[in-house]
């Protein structure tokens, strides 16, 4: 150990800066670096395992029928998940259309207008609570509000349930992006004679666009995999349907039903469906990353 209490006397040899790998502090550093690496690997292990497992089980089962045919009756083989794939896209579409404007505009209010106010605090708090609420409760909400009043299970009810799941994610992630836009940039816009609306719409929102896209994708990915809130809102449908106001099949629900029945063809379809669902989520994430890779801040 170097004694730092004594004045430094330069070492005349050329050895003074040599790194001694076996010194305790270097060994400890090395050990800790290794440890963090190990835990990082452990953290991505589940994801890797899921992807590998789903891909290896599902890939052999991917064929054109999967995308174009209806599911087979229990026990029979063949068929596909065409209606469920379409259904998932429709329900997610409804959820997207509902949650994005509310979430983004809510975040704009939080960051640009209500910042620091009591109401903003409570809105933020509620959003945090909502994001912790189990998804099945979101389904229950939609069941009481939409299904009971309209008297039928429907794609729309499923979309509302998923919108509730998405809303807090969209809102909080967007707000984080908006807050990252430096205050000076807003002042610059005001200083040029822009109104508050012009400042937000022409400067702050464009600058935060990558964050908003990330927020929406994250939320879509999360909602796309949910089965619980759809069980008693969108329900299921063995046939083709694009009607917003009738029950609709979705991949997650279809996977759930097929995974628990004791027929091999159905279980195989569940694996294939899982792979399709995973791919949809992956594609959405990659596309949005690609579109918005130029982060401003």
């Amino acid at each position: 150990m170097t004694d730092i209490s004594q004045p430094h006397t330069p070492d005349t040899t050329n050895d003074q800066f040599r790194k001694i790998w076996t010194s305790p502090r270097n060994l400890f550093g090395l050990f800790m670096t290794g440890l963090t690496g190990l835990f990082a690997a452990i953290a991505i292990l589940p994801l890797a395992a899921i992807v590998i497992n789903v891909a290896s089980q599902g890939l052999p089962l991917i064929n054109l029928d999967l995308f174009t045919k209806l599911p087979p009756p229990p026990g029979l083989s063949g068929g596909g998940l065409g209606n469920a794939i379409v259904g998932t896209l429709i329900v997610l579409g409804v959820a997207f259309v509902i949650s994005t404007p509310i979430g983004v505009l809510g975040a704009v209010w939080l960051s640009e207008f209500g910042r620091g106010s009591k109401i903003a605090y409570w809105v933020r708090f509620s959003a945090n609570v909502l994001s912790g609420v189990p998804a099945i409760i979101a389904g229950l909400f939609s069941y009481t509000i939409v299904v009971m009043t309209m008297g039928t299970f429907s794609a729309f009810a499923g979309g509302v349930a998923l919108a509730v799941v998405m809303l807090p994610i969209v809102m909080r992630t967007t707000e984080e992006g908006l807050v990252l836009v430096p205050e000076e940039v807003r002042l610059a816009a005001f200083g040029l004679g822009a109104t508050r609306f012009e400042t937000v719409s022409r400067v702050v929102l464009p600058a935060a666009l990558p964050s908003i896209a990330t927020a929406v994708t994250l939320a879509l990915a999360r909602a796309g995999g949910e089965a619980a809130p759809l069980l008693f809102t969108a329900l299921n449908n063995n046939f083709w349907s694009t009607d917003l106001f009738r029950p609709i099949a979705t991949l997650s629900v279809q996977i759930y039903f097929f995974a628990i029945i004791p027929f091999k063809p159905q279980q195989e379809l569940a694996w294939a469906g899982a792979l399709v669902l995973l791919s949809i989520i992956l594609i959405v994430s990659i596309v949005s990353r690609f579109l918005t890779r130029r982060k401003s801040y």
């Binding site: 940039v185 002042l187 610059a188 200083g191 040029l192 004679g193 022409r202």
Partner: protein
């Protein structure tokens, strides 16, 4: 027939400050400032840190409205019109009285979009390309950026960014340009360029500049206002105007001892 003319006519007053005190909540940051700012001149505001130069500057275009609790007592007029009258729209004020900030703050947009931003929000009817070129030329930036107008304003160097901000302010066609320490983040060469630019600009604009650099004040300004801060009974420090005169007077034979001490660097 021939009228006797004043050999040096007093220039037109653009901004007039009468007994203005500026508050942040209950804290009085600046007290009882009275001064006139003249057309087509450069007016420098100097003084120690915290004496309220930025505060006063921000009141000239109502940027202080954006600070919750900020408030002005007394009167600040622009061409005779009370800036703080009830019917005044601060957005309209800022269109005529532009601002350049201490830290360069271009928008995360292309150089082109940065410059024409003000014109866009102000529904400018003329030719945008022409506006772009004249503004960038006036800001002495045209030659450096003319081949990369679509690149992000953030890709420029600090000094170029600040000139871009000046171009952006000019393109809004203001009458007055307020500058809060525009060179403090810049190297000597960029600083020199901006000082030359200020000289050019005063033919068309009225400029108020805050600076901590005495040489800069002597180089660019026609008049200089020296502010100081003093402790109040409450233990706060309140800024006030010590002396305001032609720059040569302030730096060579000021009337107040405090001014003399400050400009000669003997400041305690």
């Amino acid at each position: 027939m021939i009228m006797t003319r004043n050999p040096q006519p007093t220039p037109k007053v653009v901004l007039q400050v009468q007994n203005a005190s500026i508050f942040y909540g209950s804290f009085r940051a600046v007290r009882d400032v009275t001064m006139d700012i003249y057309a087509n001149e450069v007016t420098a505001l100097i003084g120690p840190s915290g004496c309220g130069k930025s505060t006063l500057l921000r009141c000239f275009n109502r940027m202080n409205d954006l600070v919750p609790g900020a408030r002005v007592e007394g009167k600040i007029t622009y061409h005779g019109k009370d800036l703080y009258a009830r019917d005044v729209d601060p957005v309209e004020v800022r269109r005529r009285i532009g601002m350049v900030f201490q830290k360069p703050n271009p928008f995360p947009k292309s150089i082109y979009d940065n410059v024409v931003f003000g014109a866009r929000v102000n529904k400018y009817k003329g030719d945008f390309d022409e506006l772009l070129e004249t503004s960038l030329r006036q800001a002495a930036l045209w030659d450096e950026v003319k081949d990369k107008l679509q690149e992000s304003g953030l890709s420029l160097s600090g000094g170029q960014q600040q000139r871009l901000c000046i171009a952006r302010a000019i393109a809004t066609k203001p009458d007055v340009i307020l500058m809060d320490e525009p060179c403090s983040a810049l190297d000597p060469i960029s600083t020199l360029k901006i000082e030359e630019l200020i000289h050019e600009l005063k033919q068309n604009y009225t400029i108020v500049i805050v600076t901590h650099n005495m040489q800069q004040a002597t180089r660019v300004s026609d008049r200089t206002a020296f502010f100081n801060a003093e402790a109040t009974e409450q233990g706060n420090r309140v800024g006030y105007l010590v002396e305001y005169d032609h720059t040569s007077v302030i730096f060579n034979n000021p009337k107040q001892k405090a001014t003399m001490d400050y400009v000669s660097g003997r400041f305690g």
